[in-house]
Subunit: 425 residues, 2 copies
């Protein structure tokens, strides 16, 4: 069962896959559930923001003209003829040398064109009337946010495909979106292959290992925002495995298998793909780890045949499966964040394939340094702990020297200690 | 109701809050649900990994000594006397000049001390017997991963407090953790204050705005990993608001209010804190936006009184509430990721308070540039769209010039386009 395989470049593999991804379905969900999902519609301002001239502070709404000659030496007095809280509206009309008490965010009363902060006036009472004393000139529109100053009606606010961050949730609430259109979450089934696999709650046996890949992949799927379904293990028997795969395809949108794509005698996923009539997009990628990766398509469904090695299956997911899921979810920038960093160790052994090295970034000032995070073997599971990026090392005759600028792909946003400087440095 | 207020430094505010945070409760949950949660126990290796000498590739397990004199000119032949798949164990014993067919990951048979890849041998059949031909010397332990080579039993693998990444899920599965101890998710109630607020599904009215802060905060709470509960709005009436707050404290672990902490006539949260008997930790912070932030504690419960302005409440949450929630969840590094970046515009107006500027990072090579993302006003909601970091500018007599190195706090891990180079550059 040794198949003829031609290794293609990672970029080619991604292109072949992405050409086959259709658009996902969309659904309307309550705003309260929308955080982290992807917008399936452009968001356009259906009103001005603010919707009215609003006071920026607590204080008094006035006519700026009344303060024209106000100075410390000859302050002016304005009579307070009304009082409006936030959300209330003053219905009367202001006359010369009058003022209205106003709250932050309240609508400016008719006739007023500026405001002065509470802290900047002296309040007086004379003959049961309230006055304020102002000792400086106030400009027209001072401390007033004009109608439409932030957003005018009709403005495109957020484009379809954006991830709904808390800021976007706030924006949607401002414009009255109690529900919003988003991409439907695809369901991804995970099937492991290999008679050597035990369930995670089984005791170890000679020659066997626990099925860790499936659980890792399910966590990766959920982290991306899709739904994961554990479909168990395929045994090393072709007919049963074929039947299990057929059934899986009725349950989920996408099937990921781990293992069974190598050149070993019991690696019969290629046969299953053939019997299903699936179109194999490629069966080898010029990358390490994970060169024996097969991706096939049956109708609208993807079949990802990832390597059975933990690091290889982890990386295969991030590079190949993630952009498919993100695209189905509606994200138009579905790839890992791409940065550059400084290599902190030599990788001088040339490699014909692009190497993907698990790393934990070290930050010094504005520089980011990267080196291998532990055992750099595809079978390693500990090297994934603490890994927050992948170093991408394309084939290079001389390898890579310490100090080289290299590409990295970010995986994580884990927190670090922070210093708040009290003065500038 | 103008209270005497002393502005404290952000660092002081965080310290005062963090001193009051107790440890959260813990619970055991299925591994399949554990992604993104925080470990409430150290993870220690309960076995060696691998648990046995394992073959790294598909091929043949051999005795390295048999190949001592093998060369291209005088290759040696080994008889294939067995065949083991992954998960099977060979029970016989190998003799000189014999080999066993073996799969990737399988346990090395007794007597074998090296393996050779399938691609590197020639297979022969003679008189119904199988042979392989080897034309080079194989070293002892070649392509064999020794028992315990990756992890020895008893090793501390992951410390309590780590976020459970997909890699850690894989590790936990490897060691048979079908369940794992994690921090319990706290429930955070969100209460808005202000008669100017409409529900998000209500049509606009003169002088009113929709309650966007509560929805934004709920999205922030959920993003951090806690549970959010919408508790509605407090009206601008003290008795009813007091009763609503009392009730809220029976429903949730932490209450966040927005608005009502300024110096306006209707801002009576200070009175509510007093009637509740809550201890006010501080009521002003030397930061913009969000200086009028009050944090109080009643028994084990925190009361966060954030500013009613969208950007101020957003930032107040990220700086002050987030570390509390993360700590309760069990995270020992609960703060936003801290980096340095290059300022791409002048901020030369001196400010007595630390400014927090919403920004969208621009990456060029290994450099990150930051400048203000849109309208830099506390009332701005659009400036939060696309914001992926906050620039921290402590008070500085000369302000900050373009090109200065400044501190930034990362908010986001949104994806960007990536290039896969096919050769080194």
């Amino acid at each position: 069962m040794l198949t003829d395989r031609r290794a293609i470049l990672i970029g080619e593999a991604i292109e072949k896959i992405m050409k086959e991804v259709g658009t996902g379905r969309v659904e309307k969900i309550p705003l309260i559930k929308a955080g982290g999902r992807y917008l399936a519609e452009d968001i356009i301002a259906n009103q001005d923001v603010p919707a009215f001239d609003r006071s920026l502070y607590d204080g008094y709404a006035i006519m700026a003209e009344d303060t024209r000659f106000a100075t410390k030496e000859s302050p002016i007095e304005l009579e307070v003829v009304g009082h409006i809280g936030a959300g209330s509206v003053f219905l009367g009309e202001i006359k010369q040398y009058q003022a209205i008490r106003i709250m932050t965010g309240a609508e400016m009363p008719k006739g007023c064109n500026a405001m002065i902060m509470l802290e900047q006036v002296t309040e007086l009472e004379k003959e049961d009337k309230q006055f304020i004393v102002i000792d400086k000139q106030i400009q027209i529109n001072e401390k007033v946010l004009k109608k439409g100053a932030e957003i005018t009606k009709g403005t495109l606010l957020v484009e379809k495909g954006a991830q709904i961050t808390p800021g976007i949730v706030g924006l949607l609430a401002t414009f009255g979106y109690s529900e919003v259109m988003v991409g439907v979450k695809p369901t991804v089934g995970v099937l492991a292959t290999g008679s050597e696999l035990l369930e995670i709650d089984e005791p170890l046996e000679p020659g066997k290992i626990r099925n860790s890949n499936s659980y890792m992949l399910m966590a990766q799927i959920e982290k991306v925002g899709a739904n994961a379904l554990y479909l168990g293990k395929l045994e090393d028997r072709l007919d049963e495995s074929y039947a299990a795969m057929k059934k899986a395809l009725t349950q989920v949108d996408i099937v990921i298998t781990t293992g069974g794509v190598s050149v070993g005698d019991f690696d019969f996923l290629p046969d299953i793909y053939e019997r299903l009539g699936a179109k194999v997009l490629f069966n080898k990628i010029a990358m390490r780890p994970g060169s024996v990766t097969t991706v096939a398509k049956l109708g609208k469904q993807f079949l990802f045949g990832l390597s059975g090695n933990p690091s290889a299956s982890f990386i295969g997911f991030e590079l190949l499966v993630r952009p498919v899921l993100k695209t189905i979810l509606g994200n138009e920038q579905p790839y890992l964040v791409f940065r550059q960093a400084i290599l902190a160790e030599d990788f001088i052994v040339p490699n014909a394939f692009t190497q993907l090295i698990r790393t934990k970034q070290k930050v010094e000032g504005t520089n980011v340094y990267v080196s291998s995070n532990g055992l750099n073997m595809s079978s390693s599971i500990t090297s994934l702990v603490g890994t927050d990026a992948l170093i991408v090392l394309p084939p290079c005759d001389d390898g890579y020297k310490k100090g080289s600028i290299v590409d990295i792909l970010l995986l994580s946003d884990e927190g670090q200690k922070i210093n708040y400087f009290t003065t500038c440095n």
